[in-house]
C-alpha cells in the first residue's frame, strides 16, 4: 500500500519549511525529522517497487497530463535509484542524529533533507527542466553543506564546487534551451519521440552540452576537479551522501540522456573511454594521498569510472552490472566514509599516518572500514565482486579487452592503497595518548545497516539483480517508457 509518490518530494520540502519553527520549539526534535521523512520515502519506494516493476507509475502533477504539466515517472530505474538514495539518506540521517550537535544544527538537518529530496526529485521527474531545478536544489544544498563547518578548507572546497557546478548548470540550461527550441516540449518522453526529426547538428550539440553538464555531477574526468576537495572537506556524512546520493543522481541523468532521450551511438564510446580514463586517473591519484577522506574521494571517482564504463557498453548485461555497481557503491562508500569519519575524529587527524592501531582502539569502527575496503575491492563474497565481475565480463564480451585489463590494473592499485590503510589500522601500534571515546550507537547502527546489506547482496546477488533487470531493460528499450508517459496524457 503506497501513498501518492509526489509526497516523496512534497513532504521533505514541507518538513524543511517547518524545521525553523520546530527548532524554536525544541532543538532536540529537529534531528529526528530527516530520519522520519526519509524513512517515509524509503517505505514509499519499497512499497512502489512491485508496481513500478510491472509498468511505470506515472504521477501527474497539477492535474495536467504529461506533455502539458510536469509528471513524475517512476519506472524501474527511477524507483531503484530513488530507493538507493532514500536508503543512503536514511542511514546517513540516522548517523546524523548524534553527529551534528552544535549550532546551527537545525540548518544542517534542513539542508541534508533538501539534498536528499532534490536527488530523489531528479531521479523521479519526467520533465527535463524540472530535473534541472532539482539538480539545483541538490547542488545548492551540497555547496552549503560542503562549507558548513565554516572552516578554512571547507569554504575553499565549496567555492570550487560552486564554480564548476555553476558552469554545469549553464551548460544544462543551454542544452535544454536548444531542445525546447527544436522540439517544443520539455517532457522527456516527448522529446525522445521528437528528437528524431530534429536537425542532428543541433541535437548533437544539445547532447554535448547536457552530457558535459551532467558529467560534472557524475564526476567524469576531466570534469571532476571539484570532487576530491568537496568530498574530503564536507562534514563526513555529507561526503558519504555525495558518494551515495549526489553522484547517483548525476549518473542517472546522464544515463537517461544518452539512453532514453537521444539516439546517438557514438556517445557511448565516449562514455566508455571517459570511464576508463576517469578510473585510471582517480586510482593513480589516490595511491599516495595523505588524507584518508581524500583518498576515499578519489576511490569514489574511480568507482564511478567503472559505472561509466558499464553505461558506455550499452548492452543489457553491462547496464545491469553498472546499476549493480552503483548500488554497491552507494552502500559501501558511505560505509567507508562514515567509519572513516569517526576514525578521523578519534585519531584527531585527517592523515592516514595517524590512523595507526585504531583497529585495537576502536575495533568495531575499524572492522567496518576494513569490511568496506574489502567490499569495494570486489573481493568475494561481498557484493562488489559481482558487479565488477559482470561489468568486466561484458566489457570483454564486447571486445574491449584492453579496457578491461586497464580497469583490472586500476583495481590492483586500489587494492594497494586500501590495504595499506587497513594494515595500518590493525597492524601498527596505536599512538600514545589516544583518548578513547564512545562511538554513538546511532552511528554504529547506521554502519551496521550498510554492512549487512553489502553482505546480503554479496551472498545472494540475485536478490538485488531481480530489481535491476527491469531497470536496465527500461534504459535499453525506451519505447515502454515513452509509451507509458504519453499514454497517461490520453
Amino acid at each position: 500500500m503506497y501513498l501518492d509518490p509526489v509526497l516523496m518530494i512534497a513532504l521533505p520540502l514541507f518538513a524543511a519549511f517547518l524545521i525553523p519553527p520546530l527548532a524554536r520549539i525544541s532543538k532536540g526534535l529537529v534531528k529526528y525529522v530527516p530520519v522520519l521523512i526519509i524513512g517515509f520515502n524509503l517505505y514509499e519506494m519499497v512499497m512502489l517497487l512491485p508496481h513500478s516493476m510491472v509498468k511505470p507509475v506515472i504521477v501527474v502533477i497539477a492535474a495536467w497530463a504529461p506533455p502539458l504539466g510536469i509528471n513524475l515517472t517512476i519506472g524501474p530505474l527511477g524507483n531503484i535509484l530513488a530507493l538507493i538514495i532514500s536508503l543512503v539518506g536514511f542511514v546517513v540521517a540516522i548517523y546524523n542524529i548524534r553527529f551534528m550537535e552544535e549550532e546551527p544544527n537545525e540548518k544542517y538537518h534542513m539542508l541534508f533533507l533538501l539534498l536528499t529530496a532534490g536527488a530523489t526529485g531528479m531521479v523521479l521527474t519526467g520533465d527535463i527542466f524540472n530535473m534541472f531545478v532539482f539538480l539545483e536544489i541538490t547542488s545548492i544544498s551540497s555547496y552549503a553543506l560542503t562549507a558548513f563547518l565554516r572552516d578554512r578548507d571547507g569554504a575553499e572546497a565549496a567555492f570550487k564546487y560552486l564554480l564548476i557546478g555553476s558552469l554545469a548548470s549553464t551548460f544544462i540550461l543551454l542544452g535544454i534551451a536548444l531542445i525546447y527550441a527544436t522540439t517544443g516540449t520539455l517532457n522527456m518522453a516527448q522529446i525522445a519521440v521528437r528528437i528524431k526529426d530534429v536537425d542532428p547538428r543541433i541535437a548533437i550539440m544539445a547532447l554535448i552540452l547536457l552530457v558535459t553538464g551532467f558529467g560534472i555531477e557524475a564526476e567524469m574526468f576531466p570534469l571532476n576537479g571539484w570532487a576530491p576537495d568537496a568530498y574530503s572537506q564536507a562534514p563526513t556524512p555529507i561526503g558519504a551522501a555525495f558518494g551515495g546520493i549526489v553522484v547517483k543522481a548525476g549518473v542517472y541523468a546522464l544515463a537517461r540522456l544518452v539512453y532514453t532521450i537521444f539516439d546517438f551511438q557514438g556517445i557511448f564510446h565516449f562514455i566508455l573511454i571517459a570511464g576508463i580514463i576517469t578510473l585510471l586517473i582517480a586510482e593513480m591519484s589516490a595511491i599516495r594521498q595523505k588524507q584518508l577522506k581524500r583518498m576515499l574521494a578519489f576511490s569514489s571517482i574511480g568507482q564511478m569510472g567503472l559505472v561509466l564504463i558499464a553505461l558506455g557498453l550499452a548492452t543489457t548485461r553491462g547496464v545491469e552490472g553498472g546499476l549493480f555497481q552503483m548500488f554497491n557503491h552507494a552502500m559501501i562508500k558511505p560505509l567507508l566514509f562514515l567509519s572513516a569519519g569517526y576514525l578521523v575524529f578519534y585519531s584527531g587527524s585527517k592523515n592516514i599516518e595517524d590512523m595507526d592501531g585504531m583497529g585495537r582502539v576502536k575495533p568495531l569502527l575499524s572492522f567496518f572500514f576494513a569490511f568496506g575496503a574489502f567490499a569495494i575491492l570486489g573481493l568475494p563474497p561481498l557484493s562488489g565482486f559481482w558487479s565488477k565481475f559482470i561489468i568486466l565480463s561484458e566489457t570483454i564480451r564486447n571486445g574491449f579487452i584492453a579496457i578491461a585489463a586497464l580497469a583490472l590494473f586500476g583495481s590492483i592499485i586500489e587494492a594497494v592503497y586500501y590495504l595499506r590503510v587497513v594494515g595500518r589500522l590493525y597492524f601498527k601500534a596505536p599512538h600514545e595518548g589516544l583518548h578513547v571515546q564512545y562511538v554513538p550507537k546511532s552511528a554504529l547502527v547506521a554502519m551496521g545497516i550498510l554492512a549487512i546489506i553489502t553482505l546480503i547482496a554479496g551472498l545472494y546477488p540475485d536478490f538485488v539483480m531481480v530489481y535491476l533487470k527491469p531497470a536496465a531493460a527500461e534504459l535499453l528499450d525506451k519505447t515502454v517508457y515513452i509509451k507509458s508517459v504519453l499514454m497517461a496524457g490520453l
Binding site: 568475494p380 583490472l408 590495504l419
Partner: protein, 618 residues
C-alpha cells in the same frame, strides 16, 4: 541437503562461528574450528568415488559444483593438512592474541580451497580463488606491521595472477557463453591459435603465482616466513597446490595441453609444455640454491617449497601419463613432508622463539620427537629410499628420460642433489652441534603439537611402503582427466631393469636402521660429550661472547660462489618497478592542481574537445 554445499556451508559457517564464538573463550574457538573441520572432512571422505553434482544459477551464470577423483585427491590433501594444522594450532596459538581472527582466516582459507577443488565452472573457481587469496593474506599479515610489506606483495602478486586468470576466463565466457569446464574442454580446440596462446599465457600466469613458479615466486619466501607456522604448513602444503591443481585443469581438463601439439613439438611435447617444463626445472634449481644460503629456518623451507613445486610443474608439463602421475604423486608427497617440516620448525620456534638457524643447535636431546620428524622429513624431501619421496622423484626422472629430456633430467637431478645441502643444514644446525645455554631447559612440545607431526611422519613411511595405494587414487584421477592411466608395470622402477619392491626396500632399511641404532647405542655409548668451550680459535678458548657455532655462516663458501646470480634477484626488479610505477602514478595527481579556475578550464577544454569531435559522437 547435497553433500558438497553442505560441506561448504559447514566450512564457511565454522569460520564465522569460530570468530563470533571466539570472543568468549579460547577452547571454544579452537574447538569450534577443529570440530567443524573434522565434520566437513568426515562428510568429504564419504564423497570418494561418487559423482556428486550440484548446480544452480547466480545472476544468470551457471554454477556447478561437482566431485571427481582429481578433486577428491586434492581435497584429501586440503582436509588432511587442515585438520592436522588446526590441531597443531590448538596448542601453538595458545596465549597468542587474536586467535579468533586466526581461526576465522584459517577456516576461510580451507573452505575456499575446498570450493576451488569442487568447482565445476570458472566463475565459482575464481570466486573461491579470490576468497582464498584474501583469507590467506589475512594470515600473512597476522603478525603485526612488519608483515605488511610482505603481505601486500603477496596480495598484489596474487591479484595480478587472479586478474590475469579473470581476463582469460572472461574471454572464454565471451567465446563460449558459459563458464562450465565441460563446455570449455569441448570448445577449446575451436579457438584460434592466437587466442589459445593468449588464454594459455594468462591462465599460466594466474596459476603460476600461486604455485610460486619462477619468476613469479617473490612473494613466497616472505609470506611463508611471516605467516604463523601451522598455517605455513597449510600454505605451502595445500594452498600452493591450488596452483598445481589449476595447471592440471588447464592442461588436461581445459585441453590446453594439446595446444600447438600439431604445430610445434619438441621431443614429442607441445611447445607450451616444453617451455613450462623449463620454467619448472629452473624454479627447482633456483629454489634449491636460494634455500641453501638461508639462515632463517622457515625461509629455507620456503625456498625449498618453491623448488619442490618446480618439480611438480616439471612433471605436469610433460603431459605424459607418467609425468602427470609423477607430478600428482609428488604433489601429495610435498604436502606431507612440507607439512611435517613446517610444523616441526614451528614446534622449534614455539619452544625457542627463534627461527634463526645460527642461534640454535643441539636440540636433539631436548626435542627428540621433533628431531625424528625432521629427520624423516629431510629424507623424504631428498628423495631417498625408503620413504615416499623416493618414489615421487624417481617417477619424475623416469618421465623425463622416457621423453629423452636428458638435460632437464640432469638439471632436476642436480637440484635434488643440491637439496641435500640445505636439508643437512636444517637438521644439523637445529638439532645437532652444541646447544646454546639458554636452550638448556626447554621441553618437547605438547602432544597436541606432536601428534599432527607424527601422523604425517607415519604417513610418509606408509607411502614409502605402499606407494600403490596412492598411485591407485592418482590413476582414478587421471582417468577423470582424460589421460590414459599410468600402467605401473611400464615403469622402470618396477620393470625392465629389475623390480624394486618398496616393501623389501622398506624392510631392508628398517633392519639396517635398527642395527645402526643398536650399534650407535652400544658401540658409541662411550662417545664423549663435548662442551661448548671445546672450540679453539688460535689456540685460545673463546669467551662466552664469541661463542661460535658451526651454524653461523654455514655454507659461506657456497654462498659466495653462487652470490653472482643470487644477487640479481627478481624481487628487486619488481620492487624497483613498483616504486617507479608508484612514482609515475604520483605524478598523475598533480592534475588536481587545487586551483578552481584550472578545474573550470578543464571543463571548458572538455567541452571544446567534444564540440570538435562531435561528428564522431553521432
Amino acid at each position: 541437503m547435497e553433500t558438497i554445499p553442505l560441506i561448504l556451508s559447514i566450512l564457511f559457517g565454522t569460520a564465522v562461528a569460530s570468530y563470533i564464538v571466539g570472543k568468549l573463550n579460547y577452547l571454544l574457538k579452537v574447538g569450534t574450528s577443529i570440530v567443524g573441520l573434522l565434520w566437513a572432512g568426515w562428510l568429504f571422505l564419504g564423497l570418494q568415488g561418487t559423482q556428486s553434482l550440484y548446480s544452480f544459477k547466480v545472476l544468470g551464470f551457471d554454477i556447478i559444483w561437482r566431485m571427481n577423483p582429481l578433486s577428491w585427491l586434492f581435497g584429501m590433501i586440503i582436509f588432511g593438512l587442515a585438520i592436522l594444522a588446526a590441531i597443531f594450532s590448538g596448542s601453538y596459538m595458545k596465549g597468542k592474541e587474536r586467535v579468533d581472527f586466526y581461526c576465522f582466516a584459517m577456516c576461510m582459507t580451507v573452505a575456499s580451497m575446498f570450493g576451488i577443488v569442487v568447482s565445476g565452472d570458472l566463475l565459482s573457481f575464481f570466486f573461491f580463488w579470490e576468497i582464498m587469496t584474501w583469507s590467506s593474506f589475512l594470515m600473512v599479515i597476522y603478525y603485526r606491521f612488519e608483515a605488511q610489506a610482505a603481505g601486500l606483495r603477496y596480495f598484489v602478486m596474487s591479484m595480478i595472477g587472479a586478474y590475469a586468470m579473470l581476463t582469460a576466463l572472461l574471454i572464454v565466457y565471451a567465446q563460449l557463453g558459459t563458464f562450465s569446464f565441460d563446455a570449455l574442454s569441448a570448445g577449446w580446440s575451436g579457438f584460434s591459435l592466437a587466442l589459445q596462446i593468449w588464454l594459455f599465457v594468462l591462465f599460466v600466469i594466474g596459476f603460476a603465482v600461486k604455485a610460486a613458479m619462477m619468476p613469479l615466486h617473490t612473494w613466497a619466501p616472505d609470506a611463508y616466513t611471516l605467516s604463523p607456522s601451522p598455517f605455513t604448513a597449510l600454505f605451502s602444503g595445500a594452498l600452493s597446490k591450488m596452483g598445481i591443481y589449476g595447471l592440471a585443469l588447464l592442461f588436461f581438463v581445459f585441453g590446453a595441453g594439446k595446444l600447438a601439439s600439431n604445430v610445434v613439438t619438441i621431443q614429442g611435447i607441445s611447445l607450451p609444455g616444453y617451455i613450462l617444463a623449463w620454467f619448472g626445472a629452473i624454479t627447482a634449481l633456483l629454489g634449491t640454491f636460494k634455500a641453501i644460503v638461508q639462515d632463517d629456518a622457515k625461509k629455507l623451507l620456503a625456498y625449498s617449497s618453491i623448488g619442490q613445486l618446480g618439480y611438480i610443474i616439471l612433471g605436469f608439463s610433460l603431459s605424459t601419463s607418467m609425468g602427470v602421475t609423477a607430478g600428482l604423486f609428488q604433489a601429495v608427497n610435498h604436502a606431507i613432508f612440507k607439512g611435517m617440516l613446517f610444523l616441526a620448525v614451528g614446534a622449534v620456534f614455539y619452544r625457542t622463539g627463534t627461527r634463526k638457524l645460527s642461534e640454535m643447535g643441539g636440540l636433539i636431546t631436548r626435542m627428540p620427537y621433533t628431531f625424528f620428524v625432521v629427520l624423516l622429513g629431510i629424507i623424504t624431501v631428498a628423495g631417498m629410499p625408503p620413504l615416499s619421496g623416493f618414489t615421487g622423484k624417481w617417477l619424475i626422472y623416469e618421465a623425463l628420460i622416457e621423453k629423452h629430456l636428458i638435460f632437464l633430467a640432469v638439471v632436476a637431478f642436480g637440484a635434488s642433489t643440491a637439496a641435500f645441502l640445505y636439508l643437512y643444514r636444517l637438521i644439523f644446525t637445529i638439532f645437532l652441534g652444541q646447544r646454546p645455554k639458554r636452550f638448556d631447559d626447554i621441553k618437547e612440545v605438547p602432544w597436541m603439537m606432536r601428534a599432527p607431526m607424527l601422523v604425517l611422519a607415519l604417513l610418509t613411511i606408509y607411502l614409502g611402503f605402499y606407494p600403490y595405494h596412492l598411485l591407485d587414487l592418482i590413476n582414478q584421477a587421471q582417468v577423470s582427466m582424460g589421460i590414459a592411466p599410468f600402467d605401473l608395470s611400464h615403469s622402470m622402477l618396477f620393470n625392465s631393469y629389475g623390480n624394486v619392491d618398496t616393501m623389501t626396500v622398506m624392510n631392508i632399511v628398517a633392519v639396517v636402521f635398527f642395527i645402526v641404532f643398536i650399534l650407535f647405542n652400544t658401540l658409541y655409548k662411550r662417545s664423549r660429550k663435548v662442551g661448548l668451550k671445546d672450540i679453539h680459535t688460535s689456540g685460545e678458548v673463546p669467551g662466552e661472547e664469541i661463542n661460535l657455532h658451526y651454524a653461523v655462516d654455514f655454507y659461506q663458501p657456497f654462498a659466495r660462489g653462487v652470490s653472482f646470480f643470487l644477487k640479481r634477484s627478481v624481487s628487486k626488479i619488481y620492487a624497483s618497478l613498483a616504486d617507479n610505477l608508484e612514482g609515475f602514478f604520483d605524478v598523475m595527481r598533480y592534475i588536481y592542481t587545487g586551483n578552481g579556475q584550472t578545474y573550470a578550464l578543464f571543463v571548458i577544454v572538455a567541452l571544446a574537445f567534444l564540440f570538435l569531435v562531435k561528428d564522431l559522437l553521432v
